[in-house]
């Protein structure tokens, strides 16, 4: 089932001062049928509000929500056919795992209500999907965080919803479990083929499991697309900064005669770029250590962490003092003495004022 939201807007009213804050502003977005989409952004960007509106827990101020061709904007959550996994799982502590999973089914009325055996069968099926069949008679507090997460997913899926929504599904887990649960969500989504939307503030999490990601900032959709595509082709400085670890290096520069100047020195040919001051964003992997390279930095130190070798350098044009380059080997790093050539496909130019992308042609790519 495809999820489509059109011009979705949500204002919150401050009762005492009649002030409004706009949590989500004119959001138009499509989650194609059967895909897993990550809704990504820093806290307070409106992603959770968006999720709640799709779920039906909050009413949009403006705009429509469609599941397939059906307009569900005015429907209460229980008839929308959504499964929701809450950030803290919201498992009822006084009920066993089995009772928790059965709970949504027991709410059904009339013709929709399955027989007792059917309910049991479906609960068992959902439990099998998330591999918790052996834990059915325990209570939530006897389970680890990861197991609780699975129970919450089973409870969301047992009604066979049309879409699955997850709010920060991994944020309450420790680092090791996070990796494992990431795979697990991926697998469950693949096996059920259910259209899934999840919210996260962790870009690595979103990039690693989503088919598509949507990046939000202050209620506005910044960019939407396949993770690699968004990473390789960010629409603006915010998206470029938000994606990637280590983060992109931002330097203040200038384009003059189709050449990027940093601190007055020409470092890269940027054919087709408009003249004027720019922000230059350079991915850490965009630096090629060359003793005769045009970008001359002062090398502060070389850090070797596992398979990564990174060079920490300073450059006068660099915004936050130091920049970080990931290079193939320590030997090359030391040999270069802090001079680099740049890979044009890893360099992005942004407008100084509105921070939108200033394109240029990268011919050799």
């Amino acid at each position: 089932m495809e999820i489509r939201v059109a011009h979705l807007t949500k204002h919150f009213y401050d009762r005492s001062r009649r002030q409004t804050t706009t949590a989500v502003s004119d959001l138009t977005l499509t989650v194609p049928d059967g895909t897993l989409m990550g809704l990504l952004g820093p806290s307070g960007c409106g992603k959770s509000t968006t999720l709640n509106m799709i779920c039906g827990l909050e009413k949009p101020s403006e705009g429509r929500i469609f599941f397939g061709s059906e307009d569900v904007t005015d429907l209460p959550p229980e008839v929308r056919g959504v499964g929701m996994v809450f950030q803290n799982y919201a498992l009822y502590p006084h009920l066993t795992v089995r009772q928790n999973i059965l709970f949504p089914l027991e709410n059904l009325k009339g013709a929709h209500r399955p027989s007792r055996e059917e309910m049991g069968r479906r609960a068992q099926e959902a439990a099998a999907l998330v591999e918790i069949e052996t834990l059915m008679d325990r209570r939530p507090r006897e389970l680890s965080g990861g197991q609780q997460q699975r129970v919450a997913i089973a409870r969301a899926l047992v009604k066979r919803p049309r879409v699955l929504l997850l709010d920060e599904p991994l944020s309450n887990l420790d680092a090791r479990l996070r990796l494992q649960t990431r795979e697990e969500i991926c697998r469950i989504q693949r096996e059920t083929g259910i259209t899934t939307l999840f919210v996260t503030h962790d870009q690595e999490e979103a990039m690693s499991i989503s088919h598509r990601i949507a990046v939000m900032k202050e209620g506005l959709l910044m960019q939407e697309g396949a993770p690699q595509q968004v990473y390789d082709d960010p629409a603006n400085l915010f998206v470029a900064k938000f994606l990637g670890t280590p983060p992109i290096n931002v330097l203040s520069g200038e384009v003059r005669k189709e050449t990027l100047l940093l601190d007055g020195q020409a470092v890269l040919a940027v054919p087709g770029a408009a003249e004027g001051p720019v922000w230059a964003g350079i991915r850490p992997e965009g630096f090629l250590p060359r003793p005769d390279g045009p970008l001359r930095c002062a090398l502060s130190r070389v850090e070797v962490m596992g398979r990564d070798v990174s060079m920490v350098c300073t450059h006068p044009a660099c915004e936050n003092g130091s920049l970080r380059a990931i290079v193939p080997s320590r030997r090359e790093a030391e040999a270069s003495g802090g001079a680099f050539a740049l890979r044009p496909d890893k360099v992005f130019l942004f407008d100084r004022e509105d921070e939108t992308r200033r394109p240029f042609r990268t011919e050799q790519a």
């Binding site: 059906e70 307009d71 569900v72 005015d74 429907l75 209460p76 008839v79």
Partner: protein, 291 residues
């Protein structure tokens, strides 16, 4: 599309039901609010009616057009209401001050000092919370009588000072202050008493304020012990005073003057409550109990 139309009406009907429910909720809540407030309104209203007007009302009237302060004058002159108030104030302040001092010291010993038998003594302390005051009042009555302390402030105050519960509350609060502060103070050569006075008490002030207010309320409303221990009007507290007024009051059944006395007694506490509303409600929900 038809399905979604049906469902939309479903949603609208649910909305309508929610609105009705909300209206009923407000109606019910307002009803109880009226039930709570009405006695207060009635006592203030009656206290402003003149004696003749009140007794002339065969059918009670919900308002008065000729308010008078005569009842308040009566309440302060015909019976020693001023004295009752003063007694109560003195009783409440002294008892509370002693209670805070005694409890702070004890709580400090339990929270911060290590000594032999601490766990045992603290266990005994906790079990004392179970002792109902009704059981011990009998012997205390005899003790105070034997000490010849009836109709005296020490007799009123001494048995009312200690509260195991407040010691417990303070101890818990003291224990939340990090050990590092104590060690730092010790390194600087601070004495225990000075540490208690300069560090612990300022940090735990909110709790101290809460128990102070709760104790003052308790003292202001105490009735049983003062009634047993005083029969001389010069030592009556407000609760006993009001009972005295009710039974032998103004020489005749003077309801408006009685109500004036009730207003005078109730107002200080209500003002205290409104001033410290948050603190009081927090403290009470942490385990205060009336009676």
């Amino acid at each position: 599309m038809e399905r979604s139309d049906n469902l939309s009406t479903l949603g609208r009907r649910a909305d309508a039901r929610r609105r009705t429910l909300r209206a009923f909720t407000y109606l019910g809540l307002s009803l109880w609010a009226v039930l709570v407030l009405f006695p207060f309104y009635w006592m203030v209203l009656t206290s402003f009616k003149s004696y003749a007007a009140y007794n002339g009302e065969h059918i009670p009237v919900l308002y008065t057009l000729a308010p008078t302060l005569e009842n308040y004058r009566q309440a302060f002159t015909a019976v020693p209401l001023g004295r009752y108030l003063l007694n109560t104030l003195l009783f409440a302040l002294v008892t509370t001050a002693l209670m805070v001092a005694v409890s702070t010291l004890a709580a400090y010993a339990f929270a911060r000092l290590s000594f032999r038998g601490k766990d045992l003594v603290f266990g005994l302390f906790l079990s004392m919370m179970m002792i109902p005051s009704e059981l011990v009042v009998i012997t205390n009555f005899v003790t105070i009588t034997d000490l010849d302390l009836r109709n005296s402030f020490p007799g009123l105050i001494l048995p009312s000072i200690t509260s195991v519960f407040y010691i417990y509350l303070l101890k818990e609060n003291f224990e939340q202050v990090p050990d590092e502060l104590y060690r730092a103070a010790k390194v600087d050569g601070t004495s225990d008493l000075k540490y208690l006075w300069k560090v612990l008490i300022p940090i735990c002030r909110p709790t101290l304020v809460t128990i102070t207010i709760l104790k003052i309320i308790e003292c202001w409303n105490s009735y049983v012990w003062p009634r047993l221990i005083t029969d001389d009007q010069a030592y009556f507290l407000v609760s006993n005073g009001i009972q005295e007024i009710r039974e032998n009051g103004f020489g005749r059944e003077n309801v408006p003057a009685m109500m004036a006395a009730v207003v005078v007694i109730s107002v200080p506490l209500i003002l205290l409550f409104l001033a410290f509303r948050k603190k009081i409600m927090e403290g009470v929900s942490r385990g205060g109990m009336k009676g």
